[in-house]
Symmetry: C2
C-alpha cells in the first residue's frame, strides 16, 4: 500500500463540476489500495478577488489581516472536496493548515514552513479516510494564520509528502508534464518522462511555470519523489522529477530549452574598476525591491569596467532611474538599457560531462545570424540574451540542434 | 473606562464602504475612552452563497465540512474591518472563533458555546487594540471548526460580553431599536427605550426578527446588558434590554403587539380522550422535524376531544399528511386545517399584576367583528389565532387599545 500526496491547483477546482472530477480521480487512487492525502489551492481567481477586496479597504493591506482573508479560499475548496468524496462513498476529512498543523514562521504573506504535525493525518488515513488539506497556509507559534506566498500550495504538497514520508507527491496542473520547450513555440516539443531536480530548478526559474520553484527546492532537499501530471487527462504518467539522473538510458545532453520574454537589460558603462562597485549598484536596486536575474561583469580595461544585469521588464524604468542616480555617485560614464530582449537557455545535467555544448549552441545561433548580447552559464545551463525578435527562431533552432525534436 | 462589545450584522458589513463606516463608528467609541471588542457576521448573502455551493456538491452537505466552508464568511469580514480600523490609525487585530478560542460542543451547524478564553482579547485590549472577532463560529475540543446556527453571531456577541464581563453588548442592525409593533403595519408604532428580557423573548419568538432568540436567553442568563441599535444612524440610544422591569416609571401594561403571518393551524377532531394522545400526534410531527408553535387541547366531552396546533406555513401540507396517517391509528374522526391564519400577541410584564388584560384584548377584537379561532396565554403574553385577513386591523386596534400610540 502506497501513501500518495496529490496536489490540485486552482484551475482543477475552479467550480463544483471540476471538484467532482478531482474527487473521482482521488477515489480511483484510493480504490487501487493507496492512502491518499490531497492538498488544494483556492478556486482559480478567488485569491485575487480577496486581495482586490482587501485593497478596497487598505491600499497596502496589513499582512496579518491579509493572510486571515486569503486563507479562506482554500478553506472553501477543501470542504467542498471532502463533500464530493463522501458523495462517492469515500470517507474524507478536511483540515486547514492550522488544524494539521503546518507550523510556520511569522512572516505573513510569505511564511516558511518550520514543521508539520502528522498525527491527525495518520490517524485519519489509518481509519480509511482521504485527508484533504488546505494548501498555501499554516499557523505560527502564536496561532496566527499565515500564508506561504504565491504558488505556496505546491510547497504545502511537497512539505506534507516529506513529513509523511509519502511514496510520491503528484502535482496536478493544466499541463500533462514538463516539455523540452514550450509546445506553442516548437510544435515538435516532447514531454519528458523524467527530469532531475537541478534541471527542473533551472527550467522553472527560466519561465516554465509548471512548478513553483520553492517546492522543487524543497522536494530536492527532502528527497520527495515529485511527479507533474494533468488533472484534465485520465491517462499519462506525467513527468517524474528525480534526484538522480538516469544512468541507464542514453540520456540526451540537453533536456530542454527554456526562455523568458519578460526581461530587460541594463548596463552601466565605464564604471571605475575598484572593489565594491557591484554592491553599490545592486544594493540600490535591491533596496527598491527589484529582483535581479542575470548579472554580468567582464574584466575591465583602462581602469574601468562595464556592469550589466537583467530585471523584470515591468521594473525597467524604475531600475533605470536608480542607475541614473547611482551613476553620478560612482563616476560612471553612461547608463544604457534595452527592454526589447529575451533570454533563451539550454538546460541539461548532461552538459557536465560534455564540454562542447556551449560552442555548439553559439554556432547554431550564429548560423541563423542571431547576435548574442549577453552570456551567462551555470553547471547545467547556458543562457543567452538576444533581441526579442529572435526568440521563436532561437528556441526552434536550439531544440533541433540538441536533438530534442526526435 | 468601559468595555463594550459591539456586534454588527451582515447588512452592516455588506461591502467595503459599509465596513469603513463600521470602522468609523468603532473608532469613535474607542476615542471616547472605551475598550471595544467587535463581533461580525459575514457579508449579507455570503453564507447563503456558500451553502448553495456546498449543495451543488452534496444535496445534504456533511455538517463538519459545511462548517469548514461557512466559517470563511466571517473570516473575511474580520480581516477587512481590522484593515479599515488600521487605515483610521486605530490598532486592531482580528480573531477567528477558534483563535479566541470559543470552545463549543461538536454539534456541527448548531453548536453550543461551552467556554470562551479571554486571554488573547484581554492582552490586546490592554495594548490599546480593538479586537475583532468572527461571530457565528467556534471550535470543538478536537480542534474542528463549528458554527452556531442561524443568527449565531448575536449569540457570539453576547457570549463574548459575558466572558469579558463587558459593560454593555451592543447589537447593531438595520433597525434603530425594538418597536411597540411593526411600523409598516402601524405607523404610530413607538420605539421602546427599554424592554425586559422576558418580553424580548416573547417578541422575538413571535416574529420580531430584531434579535436572535438564543442570544436573548443567553444575555438574560448571564445578566449581560444588551442594547439594540441601528448601524445606519449616528444618533439614538436604541433599545436597552433589561433584567428588571422599570419600577420607577408608569410602565404601560403592554409593551408591544407582535404578530406572525407565517403560520398554519391543524386540528384533529374527535380524538378518543385517553392518556398519550398528545404524544402520539406530536411525536409523529416531531419525527418529521416539523416545529410546532401553539398547542391547544380543550377538555373533552362524550369520551372524545379536539387537538389543535400551529406549524410554519411551509410545512402545512407535510404535517397534514402525517395527521391523516395518525388519524387511523388513533381512531379519530377528522383532520381539518387552515393555512390562511395569523397569530397576534400582546406582550408585557405588566399583565402579571393587571388581571383584566385578556378580556380587554378580546373585547377590542370583538368590537371590530374579528372572530378568534384559538387562544393561548403565558404569564406575560396573550396570543390569538385569527383569519389572516384581519391581521393589520387587529394589530392596529390592539396597539391603540393598550395605549401604545401615545
Amino acid at each position: 500500500m502506497a501513501l500518495i500526496v496529490q496536489k490540485y491547483g486552482g484551475t482543477s477546482v475552479a467550480n463544483p463540476e471540476r471538484i467532482k472530477n478531482v474527487a473521482k480521480r482521488v477515489a480511483k487512487f484510493q480504490a487501487q489500495g493507496n492512502q491518499v492525502v490531497v492538498v488544494l489551492s483556492a478556486m482559480s481567481g478567488e485569491t485575487n478577488k480577496l486581495i482586490a477586496l482587501a485593497k478596497e479597504i487598505q491600499a497596502n493591506p496589513d499582512p496579518r489581516e491579509l493572510d486571515m482573508i486569503m486563507s479562506t479560499g482554500e478553506q472553501v475548496t477543501i470542504g467542498l472536496l471532502a463533500m464530493a468524496l463522501q458523495e462517492l462513498g469515500v470517507k474524507a476529512r478536511s483540515y486547514t493548515g492550522g488544524q494539521v498543523k503546518v507550523l510556520t514562521d511569522s512572516t505573513f504573506t510569505k511564511a516558511r514552513i518550520l514543521s508539520i504535525d502528522e498525527g491527525n493525518m495518520r490517524r485519519d488515513l489509518e481509519a480509511g479516510n482521504v485527508v484533504v488539506v488546505a494548501g498555501f497556509q499554516g499557523v505560527d507559534a502564536d496561532g496566527n494564520i499565515t500564508t506561504l506566498g504565491r504558488g505556496g500550495s505546491d510547497t504545502s504538497g511537497v512539505a506534507l509528502a516529506a513529513a509523511l514520508k509519502a511514496d510520491e507527491c503528484q502535482i496536478y496542473t493544466d499541463v500533462d508534464g514538463v516539455y523540452t520547450t514550450d509546445p506553442r513555440v516548437v510544435p515538435e516539443a516532447k514531454k519528458l518522462d523524467t527530469i532531475t531536480f537541478e534541471e527542473m530548478l533551472e527550467m522553472a526559474s527560466l519561465g516554465s511555470k509548471v512548478l513553483q520553484i520553492r517546492s522543487v527546492e524543497f522536494a530536492g532537499k527532502y528527497k520527495v519523489k515529485l511527479r507533474v501530471l494533468s488533472s484534465f487527462q485520465d491517462e499519462g504518467e506525467g513527468t517524474l522529477i528525480t534526484v538522480e539522473e538516469d544512468k541507464n538510458m542514453e540520456q540526451p545532453i540537453i533536456s530542454g530549452i527554456a526562455f523568458n520574454r519578460d526581461e530587460a537589460k541594463l548596463t552601466m558603462l565605464g564604471v571605475p574598476d575598484k572593489p565594491g562597485i557591484a554592491y553599490q549598484i545592486l544594493g540600490a536596486i535591491a533596496a527598491a525591491n527589484i529582483d535581479v536575474d542575470m548579472i554580468i561583469q567582464n574584466v575591465g580595461h583602462d581602469g574601468t569596467t562595464d556592469f550589466s544585469f537583467t530585471v523584470n521588464r515591468g521594473e525597467f524604468a524604475k531600475a533605470q532611474a536608480i542607475l541614473d542616480t547611482v551613476k553620478g555617485e560612482l563616476g560612471a560614464r553612461q547608463v544604457v538599457g534595452d527592454n526589447k530582449i529575451c533570454k533563451v537557455s539550454a538546460v541539461g545535467v548532461g552538459m557536465r560531462s560534455h564540454p562542447g555544448v556551449a560552442s555548439q549552441m553559439f554556432k547554431a545561433l550564429a548560423d541563423e545570424g542571431i547576435n548574442i548580447q549577453m552570456i551567462s552559464t551555470s553547471e547545467i545551463k547556458i543562457s543567452v540574451v538576444l533581441d526579442e525578435k529572435y526568440l521563436e527562431l532561437a528556441v526552434r533552432v536550439l531544440h533541433r540542434t540538441f536533438g530534442l525534436d526526435q
